[in-house]
């Protein structure tokens, strides 16, 4: 059943990582990316690796959950790994048929796989420890200055949070419509691609009709509750940056600086 898919990767918890302001976490992820792409020697890569390991440790997220997150990317990782491994110039370690493996190839492959892993894991750590609502909230506030150039920051984040709210509702609805059409003999499992695509119509049409109806009713309900855009709107939960937030930001700045220094030193 569709319902069984766990959506939103948030693992509720009460660790220092969970408690950080979402803005801090968003900025830290960006800083981490900078450090990650700067790093290209064993020491600098080691530094960024340890930084993430430290954060994961505090967050109490099982490392297994992060590894699992790599699954959908496995194909790309393997593909680029093969390219790197066999087609990099350098001192040949061994040959087999038309393939040859060089020391540089091995080095770059390891580096690349590690980088992808750290890149993906750091974003997963963010979504695992921050609720979607906090994330949109954090983004809205970080992007607030863009309102000055008429970028619809509030509207976008409102849309995102409503979308998040309705995902479970629409999944449940899809389930129901599928069952109802199956009860009338609809067949979603056999036939070629074209036939299967056509078989989706009896699901998609009612789903769209219903989504529009919901949107319409929701808009009315929002108006009834005095919604009139972002202007003059306050929030019940105000985000507050604490000492921990500033310290974390400082730490990540240091990591970036450290990575740059290590790279300059050729380590």
């Amino acid at each position: 059943m569709l319902k069984d898919i766990t959506l939103g990767q948030y693992f509720p918890g009460d660790t220092p990582v969970h408690r950080l302001d979402p803005r801090t976490k968003l900025v830290c992820v960006i800083l981490y990316f900078i450090a990650l792409f700067t790093a290209n020697g064993p020491c600098s890569v080691g530094l960024v690796f340890l930084t993430l390991a430290f954060a994961v440790g505090i967050s109490r997220i099982r490392p297994g959950a992060l590894v699992k997150g790599m699954k959908p990317l496995l194909f790309i990782v393997i593909f680029t790994a093969i390219l790197n491994l066999f087609f990099t110039e350098g001192e040949v370690l061994f040959r087999w048929w038309i393939f040859r493996v060089t020391d540089q190839g091995v080095y770059r492959t390891v580096l690349m796989v590690l980088r992808i892993f750290l890149l993906v894991s750091s974003t997963f750590l963010l979504t695992y420890t921050t609720s979607p609502l906090q994330l949109t909230d954090g983004m809205e506030r970080l992007l607030a200055p863009l309102k000055k150039v008429r970028f619809p920051v509030h509207e976008l984040s409102m849309m995102m949070s409503i979308a998040l709210r309705f995902i479970p509702t629409l999944i449940e609805e899809t389930d129901k419509i599928m069952s109802a059409q199956k009860a009338r003999g609809a067949d979603f499992d056999t036939g070629g691609l074209a036939k299967r695509a056509k078989a989706l119509l009896p699901i998609l049409v009612p789903l769209f009709v219903s989504a529009f109806r919901r949107a319409d009713e929701l808009a009315t309900a929002m108006e009834c509750r005095c919604y009139h855009g972002g202007e003059g709107r306050t929030r019940m939960k105000t985000l507050k940056m604490g000492v921990g937030d500033y310290l974390t930001l400082l730490l990540y700045c240091l990591v970036v600086a450290g990575a740059i220094v290590l790279v300059r030193l050729g380590l």
Binding site: D4, Q181, R184
Partner: protein, 286 residues
């Protein structure tokens, strides 16, 4: 024939996850061909899960669903065939309409049965007639019609498959009293003229009392009570303890009894109650 037999049916949702939930627990039930049965129960009592087993949309975790003595899950073909023999109308079925015209929507089921054009046409007209859909609506888009009309079209779509067993999940939910009365009349008429089985899921006790020959009360995933309306409604306290209402007439009779008026226990329609009260007052037959 179209006898349904459920043998020790068990259904567990999301098995092996923290959300594991036993929706049906050892349900055994015989529904012989031609009965008009109402299935009653509080939300979450397992009645929706139960009916989705009747046409094989859900497979039992353990136990068997037999149709005319044969397991409906014995082969893929049998499972496909059962969808057409047990017609299932879901709650708020109007939300599943998708075709451009009323006619084509009603024809969706018959078409899936692999019938010829002329047979499809016959089925569509029959289904429409039973569900009270006027043929003048056939060329219209279902989306333009009122909620009550849409409901009828969706029901016609299932009736048009000419199933041996018609299962309806809360078909009158959200309709106004006139709409309810008309639809229930259509269903009764369908039952009378097709001699097919009708299974009505409802939590409206007055509807169950006035429509069905037999009531099956579900509670916590099991069959709690099973019998004629008179038998079931003579146990108002048990029904209440299962979070169910009792028919208004039964409630009134019970209230009167508590105040010392001598009234028999098995009252479930206003008409019957009125008759009893009048004869008590010595006014004789009304």
């Amino acid at each position: 024939m179209a006898d349904i037999r459920l043998e020790s049916l068990r259904h567990v949702y999301s098995r092996g996850t923290p959300f594991e939930k036993t929706a049906l627990d050892d349900v055994s039930l015989d529904i012989p061909s031609g009965q008009y049965v109402a299935i009653l129960g509080h939300t979450g009592s397992g009645k929706s899960t139960l009916i989705q087993h009747l046409n094989g949309l859900l497979a039992p975790t353990s136990g068997r669903v037999l149709f005319d003595g044969e397991d409906i899950h014995r082969s893929k073909e049998a499972l496909r065939d059962i969808r057409f023999r047990v017609g299932l109308v879901f709650q708020y079925p109007e939300y599943q309409l998708f075709e451009e015209t009323v006619y084509r929507d009603i024809a969706f089921g018959p078409k899936n049965m692999g019938l010829s054009e002329s047979e499809i046409d016959e089925h569509v007209r029959l289904g429409a007639r039973f569900a009270g859909v006027d043929e003048s609506l056939f060329s219209l888009s279902p989306l333009e019609l009122s909620g009550g009309q849409k409901r009828r079209i969706a029901i016609a779509g299932v009736m048009a498959m000419e199933p041996d067993v018609l299962v309806l999940d809360e078909p009158i939910a959200g309709l106004d009293p006139a709409g309810c009365r008309a639809l229930l009349k259509n269903i009764k008429e369908y039952h009378r003229s097709t001699h097919g089985t009708v299974i009505l899921v409802t939590h409206d006790m007055d509807v169950a009392a006035s429509e069905a020959q037999r009531l099956v009360v579900m509670n916590k995933g099991a069959v709690a009570l099973d019998g004629t309306p008179a038998e079931i409604f003579s146990r108002p306290t048990e029904l209440r303890s299962m979070g169910l209402d009792i028919p208004d007439a039964t409630a009134l009779a019970q209230a009167l009894r508590e105040r010392g008026v001598e009234i028999p226990e098995s009252i479930y329609t206003p008409r019957f109650l009125a008759g009893v009260l009048l004869s008590r007052n010595g006014e004789g037959p009304c």
